[in-house]
Amino acid sequence: MEFVSSDRTIRPAINATALKILIAGGFGVGKTTLVGSVSEIEPLRTEEQLTERSTGVDDITGVEQKRTTTVALDFGRITISHELILYLFGTPGQDRFWFMWDELAQGALGAIVLADTRRLASCFAAIDFFEERNVPFVVGVNCFDGSQMYTVDEVRGALDVDPFVPVLLCDVRRRESTKDVLTALLQHIMSLTGHAQRAAADN
């Protein structure tokens, strides 16, 4: 068996801090490509089984019916130092089930919502999810060839995100572009926590 950790250059300490950033957006919008462009490992895949409690009861057996759905996540890793590791998790594209997966959002540093201007509506659900759970996010408009028909402001208007949420154009196949989106997210998180701390200090 191949060891997952064999390609690691820095061996993390067991008391290292692990952080998580989520990459969300519609089907085929470039989530896995984004993870792969900055990850030090080939994106890995893990699966979780989510159980949906259906409302109906089986007439014959009287047993409540449930459906189990497998949700797959891609993820990559950036070892910042032996005490700080960042994981990027790409959420399932068109799957409605990940929205009930609390563990995904819990403790997430923030999120990148990838949008495709040809199918903008496909990222509404992700935006709602992060807004509801107070997960800081930025919107990356992934520029597929020939699809840059909207300006950032037009996309912002169509998505109806708060004015302080960064919206930027990107090409997630390029590492530098993905770095720009991650940088924007980190700066956004830092300004939000800065505001929160100043507000607390004022009270």
């Binding site: 997952v4 950790s5 563990e103 403790g107 107070n134 940088t183 926590t193």
Partner: protein
């Protein structure tokens, strides 16, 4: 009984089932302080046959500190099942873990955020 075929899903656990395995006549449930990015590491080596196959597979994956998500990917098992197997290994002192997970990003210190930002810029 070993491995994947011994994993069940709890009927009454709500939307996200808490899986458990049935190993050596006992029912095991995942600890609730493990998450996808909890880091785990094996404390000691094991002899062949000391553990069942599923637990051995997990232990082999965590010889170096590694996240539970990576263990699941490496062992090719669902996250929930891996958490149950790791809970067994933690209870039996084969593995230690550390949850570095804040409830919310605002709990991450500005210093840590700055380090992440610097780390990203250096990529």
């Amino acid at each position: 009984m070993t491995g994947e075929d011994s994993a069940w899903f709890d009927e009454d656990a709500g939307p996200l089932a808490r899986p458990y395995t049935f190993t050596r006549g006992r029912t095991h449930v995942a600890r609730d302080d493990l998450n996808m990015i909890t880091l785990v590491v094996a404390l000691r080596r094991f002899h062949r046959g000391e553990l069942d196959h599923a637990h051995e597979r997990i232990l082999e994956c965590c010889q170096d500190p590694i996240s539970i998500a990576e263990v699941a990917a490496g062992a090719d098992l669902p996250l929930g099942v891996v958490k149950v197997l790791l809970s067994d290994l933690i209870e039996q002192n084969y593995v230690i873990f550390r949850t570095g997970l804040a409830k919310h990003s605002s709990a991450t210190s500005p210093d840590t955020l700055q380090k992440v930002l610097d780390g990203i810029r250096e990529l």
